[in-house]
């Protein structure tokens, strides 16, 4: 509590806490059907959800998947418990939606090329030396499995055991994929 003027005390609130409270309130409003509250939540989280989708399954499908995530979030808001942060709940939902879509896209593309040659291709620097490839572009050239493990572990903070469960692989494979992704990406650091 902070004393401002004589006899007047105000509560000083942590900005993060205030933002969290506002989000929790919007989540409750949205769960009761308030579309404007849901749009506010969308505005706050769309960049992260879209970035996650773009990095996991590519730019082509990112818009579509992002819309799908928010539409599903709307229908599942009643299951959101305010003890957790809304963002955490939404990102978990997004990962599940993206991974479900990944299966479909994998079938459509007819491939999941996690071979050594694909990793080497991702690691190969741009043809013109003056054109430096940024990390995101280099990530997009990784094989699907290595890219997804890299994004989930190094960007989203998932543990190997969680990744293994999500991707239907064993923990050792997740560790191996992560290492090979990092080894491929280190060539694009300059």
């Amino acid at each position: 509590m902070e004393l401002t003027t004589s006899g007047v005390a105000t509560l000083r609130r942590d900005p993060d806490q205030a933002a969290g409270d506002a989000e929790a309130a919007d989540a409750a409003l949205a769960a009761s059907g308030d579309g404007r509250a849901f749009e506010r939540l969308y505005r706050v989280h769309v960049a992260r959800i879209h970035s996650l989708a773009r990095r996991m399954i590519g730019l082509d499908a990112a818009d579509d998947v992002t819309q799908d995530v928010f539409i599903r979030a709307w229908t599942k808001l009643a299951t959101f418990r305010s003890e957790a942060a809304f963002g955490t709940w939404l990102y978990r939902l997004a990962v599940n939606v993206i991974l479900a879509r990944r299966t479909t896209l994998g079938s459509e593309r007819g491939r999941y090329d996690d071979s050594e040659s694909a990793l080497e291709s991702a690691a190969r620097p741009a043809a013109a030396p003056e054109i430096s490839m940024d990390l995101e572009e280099a990530m997009s050239r990784l094989p699907d499995g290595a890219r997804q493990v890299f994004v989930l572990h190094d960007l989203e903070g998932y543990r190997h055991e969680e990744i293994a469960k999500l991707l239907g692989i064993v923990s050792g494979t997740s560790k191996s994929q992560l290492h090979h992704a990092r080894m491929a990406l280190r060539k694009h650091l300059e």
Binding site: A31, S32, G33, D34, G35, R36, F38, E39, Y42, R43, V46, A47, R48, H50, S51, R54, A62, D63, D64, T66, Q67, D68, F70, I71, W74, T75, L77, A78, L135, E136, F150, D154, L155, H160, K175, S176, L178, H179, R182, M183, L185, R186, L189
Partner: protein, 227 residues
């Protein structure tokens, strides 16, 4: 540089090695410049990845989402009554149920008139801003009401004609949500068959049917606006 050690560098960074492995790899790193250099590069990859900024999509996706959840782009969103009612289901009192039954009885008379009106006023694919269509449907009645089915069929035909003007992502969202709503309608009808007097189920079914009409109407409006 030993491949066997290189393969463990990521685990070393992530601190998932056992104590013995950690001591051994640190001893190796102290004497192997190549592995030490690779370790440094891998650490920079991790740091760069963690520092990546999130970027919003190039175009605003909210209009498509608003359509997907039954809200018009730019319009004042309405409360999703189905969700609110679902939560209140167990708190219905006898007077509330009685009031709901009376309301349903009153609405059943009006519903037929509204449905008839609605079916005559089906917005065509070229309609840019269709008039509001406040559908209040007695679900028990309209579950088999041919006028409701006709209104839906008209809107679906118009949408089929206008779908070429919508981008594929929007079409996918619309189709997906129509299928979700259709499933909800089927489930509600099935539940009502077992419990025809359930006021909540009647309201829920009416809400889903209203949502379907609303979604079709908005999709047609969107297609019309792009013609």
């Amino acid at each position: 540089m030993s491949d066997a050690w290189t393969e463990r560098l990521s685990e070393y960074i992530d601190e998932t090695l056992s104590e013995g492995e950690r001591v051994a790899i640190e001893a190796h790193l102290a004497s192997c410049a190549a592995c030490a250099a690779t370790l440094d590069e891998l650490r920079r990859v991790v740091a760069r990845a963690r520092a990546l900024d999130d970027r919003p999509p190039a175009t605003d996706l909210w209009p498509g989402i608003a359509i997907g959840i039954g809200l018009a782009p730019g319009a004042h969103p309405v409360a999703s009554l189905g969700q609110r009612r679902a939560r209140r289901r167990l708190s219905f009192t006898v007077p509330e149920l009685a009031a709901a039954a009376i309301a349903l009885a009153i609405l059943s008379g009006g519903a037929a008139w509204l449905l008839l009106r609605a079916s005559k006023a089906v917005p065509m694919a070229t309609t840019a801003t269709p008039a509001p269509m406040p559908m209040l449907v007695n679900a028990a009645l309209s579950g088999t009401d041919p006028r409701y089915a006709a209104a839906v069929a008209d809107l679906e035909r118009a949408l089929e004609q206008g779908r070429g003007r919508l981008d594929t992502a929007t079409v996918r969202v619309i189709q997906k949500n129509l299928s979700i709503i259709d499933r909800a309608i089927r489930e509600a009808q099935s539940a009502l068959a077992a419990d025809p007097g359930n006021a909540y189920l009647n309201l829920h079914l009416a809400e889903q049917m209203r949502r379907k009409l609303e979604l079709l109407r908005r999709a047609n409006a969107l297609a019309g606006a792009r013609s």
